[in-house]
């Protein structure tokens, strides 16, 4: 066998940084790598179900345009790099289902700002990834298009709601994907699929054209195999957007600029509340080993307390359903999306359209939200939850007086089997016990692979102060320079180059 060939990484094993280097050096074209991913999706995604829609024709046209731009010397940040969008981001002329029957036939006449940002950066969109219906779920089991399989073990869930994006990255069916996080929907699937994911500060990434679940919590962010790739994606994804009334008018830094800063002197807060009962011992060990590695690099670990941690899940399950019940009232069968057959009057049309278009979990959350907002209960539930939300935020504000970043597990245990949480919504909700508080506070959070338990990946969560994504990416990158967890791939996914290295 010829070493010069076998030692080369297959195109699908390359990171975004490596793809950019390869495109710049003329080793391959965007059309070649795009075609390679499209072929690979066709060949493998029957197993994982990570894509809802694959854009073969438009991806190749975008790749061709990117190659042309490059040849003319016009090379924007992600020129010719293939990516995928979570099917929650509206794409002009491409069906945007939000994982639901309600929007199974919805073809938006416009692009989300995030989609526009990637298009302006020259990225090529391979397709739209699978997700829990309306982003409500932690296992991808609520998708109208069937569950996504975790590439590490196809009997287990990929996490959710961005499970399609996470699985597609883990199975090397795209080098990077967009995702959204309302209570952990980027970080938990990133942890369960062994990839890197970042939920930015609330307001950093535009929500315009991103189908709303809980508007005061929703935030888009990148998923990729390395922190460096997440930085490259966030450079493009983050922007001030006048069309999103909650977008923050603040300069977007170059997120790759600080990646190589040494960690000496970094103060890492370790919340005692994140290492209590309910945490899988293997997960705990992997996280503690990661913290030891950071200590080796000169970081100082400081035990801290986030005293209102226990109240985060209860507060979230008032606020998120309340906002969802308001947001999802727009799906009424009048202007777009599903409409029931032969409605006998307007009321019948609303009632049956929504009964047919929404799945059980979506309906449950709408009803819980309607309850929390209904006359007589508003003060006891919604107002109370918003007060608790401030207490939770204050815990973090106090902690960041003495530490630079906060770390702990991303999720309580590795990927679980399909059906394991059965019909018990509360058991599923506790999956996000370590991630929800950062959404309530509006803080940025990240998950980075830090170990394997029973051959399943574990995520280290890095929580940063407001708009401190640059530092979090620096910490994650330095961790990845010293460890190999982010390079671990599920059996059968990695290129064979490594196995045959040195043979013959």
């Amino acid at each position: 066998m010829n070493n010069s060939i076998t030692n080369q990484k297959a195109l699908h094993d390359k990171t975004i940084a490596e793809i950019l280097a390869g495109l710049n050096a003329g080793e391959f074209t965007s059309v070649e790598i795009t075609q390679h991913f499209l072929d690979r999706i066709k060949q493998l995604d029957g197993t994982y179900n990570s894509y809802i829609t694959v854009n073969e024709a438009s991806a190749l046209a975008q790749a061709e345009a990117a190659d042309k731009r490059r040849a003319e010397g016009d090379v924007p940040a992600l020129c010719g790099v293939p990516i995928a969008h979570k099917d929650i981001f509206c794409t002009n002329g491409v069906r945007t289902s939000c994982g639901s029957k309600m929007l199974d036939n919805f073809v938006p006449p416009y692009d989300a700002t995030v989609v526009e940002n990637f298009a302006n950066a020259g990225a090529v969109v391979l397709g739209k990834t699978n997700m829990d219906q309306f982003a409500m779920g932690s296992s991808n089991e609520t998708s109208f298009y069937g569950p996504v399989k975790n590439p590490w073990d196809t009997n287990t869930v990929p996490g959710g709601s961005s499970g399609g994006s996470a699985a597609a990255v883990a199975a090397h069916l795209t080098p990077g994907a967009t995702a959204t996080d309302t209570g952990g929907s980027i970080r938990q699937p990133a942890a369960l699929c062994g990839i890197t994911g970042l939920k930015p500060t609330y307001g950093r990434v535009s929500r315009w054209g991103m189908i709303a679940f809980a508007s005061s919590l929703d935030q888009g962010g990148p998923m990729a195999r390395t922190a460096e790739d997440c930085a490259l994606m966030l450079n493009v994804m983050a922007s001030f957007d006048p069309k999103d009334s909650t977008s923050i008018d603040r300069e977007v830094p170059n997120y790759t600029a600080n990646l190589n800063q040494p960690l000496a002197g970094l103060k890492v807060g370790i919340p005692r509340e994140y290492f209590k009962e309910g945490l899988n011992p293997g997960t705990e060990q992997a996280v503690r080993d990661a913290l030891t590695e950071l200590e080796k690099q000169g970081a100082t670990l400081i035990s801290i307390s986030l005293p209102h941690t226990k109240l985060a899940v209860p507060a979230y399950y008032v606020i998120a359903p309340a906002e969802a019940s308001a947001n999802l009232s727009r799906f009424d069968g009048v202007r777009y999306g599903h409409r029931c057959d032969d409605p006998k009057d307007l009321r019948d049309m609303y009632m049956r359209t929504r009964a047919e278009g929404f799945g059980d979990e979506v309906k449950r959350r709408i009803l819980v939200g309607a309850y929390c907002l209904s006359a007589g209960y508003y003060d006891a539930y919604y107002r109370k939850a918003q007060q608790v939300r401030r207490l939770i935020k204050q815990d973090f504000v106090d902690a960041f007086e003495q530490v630079d970043v906060i770390m702990g597990p991303t999720s309580p245990s590795p990927a679980f089997e399909f059906g394991a949480k059965g019909d018990d919504p509360v058991a599923m909700y506790l999956e996000d016990i370590y991630t929800i508080a950062t959404n309530l506070a509006g803080l940025p959070g990240m998950s980075v692979p830090c170990g394997l338990v029973d051959d399943k990946p574990v995520g280290l969560q890095i929580i940063g102060n407001y708009f401190d994504e640059s530092r979090m990416l620096n910490v994650a990158h330095q961790f990845q320079q010293a460890t190999h967890w982010h390079q671990q791939t599920p059996v059968g996914i990695a290129s064979e180059a490594k196995d045959t290295e040195g043979a013959e």
């Binding site: 036939n105 919805f106 073809v107 938006p108 006449p109 609330y202 307001g203 005061s216 006048p242 009334s245 909650t246 923050i248 008018d249 226990k310 109240l311 209860p314 507060a315 399950y317 008032v318 359903p321 009424d332 069968g333 009048v334 202007r335 777009y336 999306g337 409409r339 409605p343 009057d345 307007l346 009321r347 019948d348 049309m349 009632m351 929504r354 009964a355 059980d360 309906k363 449950r364 709408i366 009803l367 309607a370 309850y371 209904s374 539930y381 109370k384 939850a385 918003q386 007060q387 608790v388 939300r389 401030r390 207490l391 935020k393 018990d424 919504p425 509360v426 909700y429 509006g442 407001y466």
Partner: protein, 95 residues
């Protein structure tokens, strides 16, 4: 706080979602479980705490009162379930 079938029926009416007769009992139970979870909030001391509506306490931006959007009626109506003469069609509301 107990929740009963009649409460769920009222909520479903408010939310305009037809309930499935076969699963009402199950729905009622699962919503009761979620409400039991959120009832943990009642133990929190929130005396004098200002409710938090926005993570960074930002307020809505205002813009100049100028026309910035162009008309997209044709594109929007092209994806509607039923339209006629530029109008959205729904079942008859008034006899």
């Amino acid at each position: 706080m107990t929740i009963e079938r009649a409460d769920i029926e009222k909520l479903a009416e408010l939310a305009r979602i037809e309930l499935n007769e076969a699963t009402i009992a199950e729905t009622t139970q699962s919503i009761a479980d979620v409400l039991a979870l959120v009832d943990q909030l009642q133990a929190a001391d929130t005396e004098g705490v200002e409710p938090m509506a926005h993570p960074t306490d930002a307020v809505q931006r205002l813009r100049a009162d100028e026309v910035t959007e162009t008309n997209h009626r044709e594109e929007f109506q092209a994806i509607a379930p039923a339209t006629e003469a530029g109008l959205y069609l729904v079942p008859k509301v008034i006899d």
